[in-house]
Symmetry: C2
Subunit: 364 residues, 2 copies
């Protein structure tokens, strides 16, 4: 593909101002992605609670909220702290917190603002009650349910019911709802689970105010759980090769490119990018190769050293030369963003903004 | 394995002071590893130039120098900037720099101190000459040679010779030597390559002052290249499962553990750690499972979500419970360290120091 004049100018601006590798987002695409997901949620009558794990940026989280999202989802307390510092007040932390609970940080943040937290076990509930007591503020708890992903979450309505009873008995905990992450083909059985659990809860006067589902590919299923109140999706804001593979995006919907220089050409069929596993990460997402190169779609990023991406150019007619700058669509954009401290934002081929990945590296 | 009293106390101190996951290094082991590699280099009469990619910490780099290393190796200019800020003056950047050269940062650092850089192509050499001219200081260049790794480096003595001639003709470049990274079984052919190239260079009055080899597993081969002057190894400072697999370390030589909490137990044979691909990374190093759990050696970290490590406990007699803290030896320690902003250092079971990973995230 012959680069357009604009592409070449932007590449020069990126390498001269920032060097390579450099993570660049196109705000026109990002805003279109934000609007599209919001419209899907709106059409289904389901609130949008984007997961910030993909961008880890309060600036972008606030743009999602401005576009209609009613709150955000975080995976780590440290992410929630950064988002709270930026004025975001409706935060769900969608995981069992233990490290953050035991280090006192959960209590400290709960004192500042009312969080929504999740649990799939009684030990987490005990930690949350302790933190709420320390914070002198009742904490909202969702029960996490697994209907087939084999990730976190209780596997039976009876287990969920038992946790609901513990929450009911503990004055510092408030039962806020149920957290689902149905497998793509698991919505019917999620519905069965939910109906059974809701009936049990109703018998003791309990009901879930929030019924939350998740995942970007599941935006296609968003209206399939009767009673659901909100959806958590993350990757849609940028998209990546996994989302293309899942049928949720095309290349034109991929709003983040890793600009990388070809730094070596060893032999006819080999090349090396200055982006390796410390930039693109070793997440394959189950795909062939470690990224799609816009300028050389038949080139394959076949393996990594830490700072090098090794190119198999055997299928390329036109091969990149040392010094060429290429744009890589990552397999998994969430982990690539997590490697950097900032994103360079462009619009119409011009660099317009530097967006800090402020919640990067918040492991706890 | 029943934890000793000390282990339990340290775990409590880690989770209460920092939360989990948390990267913890044991300074007694780290110092032993530093001494051991230094002794190997000393015994071979080869200078030690550790690669800081593993720890990215000026504090630890300075300890390696204090123990006898004569300088350091970096992979990115941004790493060299951080190390220079900490007073380190003998720095080799072991890669073709393009992004950093074109953004002007190479020239700026070369103005501050005389760097050693590497090239395997004429375009990089032209960039180095430009940077040296800007910096008003001749730059030392090593020619990178590939004798079988299929990574960066010229593949024939003739190509290396051609680059040496370019360097000789360019007044702002100084030919400083040859950079090798022999495959484990490739030392004999590296010797042949080196002899042939040296003979050619001698004909035009050139000789390599620095003859550099690399790799922790290659510490076992260090005396096998006649004339070599220095060795670059990185991983030895902490070691990991890959180094155990390579026969270079035992579990007791692994100086870095990822302390992680069991946050969920779904079903008899499943468990979830609060360390996922954003902590341990998806680098397998060709090994089975994504880490070794000290307390449960038969448990298998079978896959990752971004913030969760999924445990297969089917082979465990004693299974961890929610709330248990376990210590994970990563498959590849260099990429795990690269995920965090600090390491917690312990000695004799006590927390003694916080070591910033100051050069983390320096992609350019």
């Amino acid at each position: 593909m012959q680069p357009s004049h604009d592409d070449a100018q932007l590449k020069t601006a990126i390498i001269e101002n920032f060097g390579t590798p450099c993570l660049v987002i196109d705000l026109d695409i990002v805003e279109r992605n934000i609007s599209k997901a919001q419209a899907i949620c709106d059409a289904a009558g389901v609130a949008n609670r984007p997961h910030i794990k993909t961008h880890k940026s309060p600036i972008l989280a606030n743009r999602q909220i401005k576009a209609g999202a009613h709150g955000i989802t975080c995976q780590k307390l440290g992410e929630a702290e950064v988002m709270a510092d930026a004025g975001i007040t409706d935060i769900l932390i969608a995981t069992n917190l233990l490290g953050a609970a035991r280090s006192g940080r959960l209590a400290a943040l709960q004192k500042r603002l009312p969080l929504k937290v999740c649990a799939d076990n009684a030990i987490s509930l005990a930690e949350y009650a302790k933190a709420a007591t320390q914070a002198e503020r009742v904490i909202d708890v969702l029960i996490e349910v697994d209907t087939g992903q084999q990730r976190a979450g209780v596997e039976t309505p009876a287990e969920a019911f038992a946790l609901a009873q513990i929450i009911k008995a503990e004055p510092m905990l408030n039962f806020a709802g149920l957290l689902y992450y149905p497998p793509l083909d698991g919505w019917p059985r999620t519905q069965v689970f939910h109906a059974e659990l809701s009936a049990e809860l109703a018998k003791i006067g309990m009901s879930a105010e929030i019924i939350s589902t998740g995942g970007t590919p599941n935006l296609a299923n968003i209206d399939k759980l009767k009673g659901s109140t909100e959806h958590r999706a993350g990757t849609y804001i940028f998209n990546d090769r996994m989302m293309i593979e899942a049928g949720m995006a095309s290349l034109k919907d991929c709003g983040l490119h890793v600009y990388s220089s070809v730094v070596s050409r060893g032999g006819t069929d080999r090349g090396i990018l200055d982006a390796g596993s410390k930039t693109l990460t070793s997440d394959t997402g189950g795909l062939e190769g470690f990224g799609h190169i816009i300028e050389h779609p038949t080139a394959r990023i076949s393996k990594f050293a830490e700072e090098h991406g090794f190119l198999d150019l055997s299928r390329c007619n036109s091969k990149p030369e040392v010094g060429d700058i290429v744009r890589v669509v990552p397999n998994h954009v969430c982990v690539a963003v997590n490697m950097v401290d900032q994103l360079v934002a462009v619009r119409g081929g011009e660099i317009v903004e530097i967006i800090p990945v402020a919640a990067r590296g918040k492991l706890v």
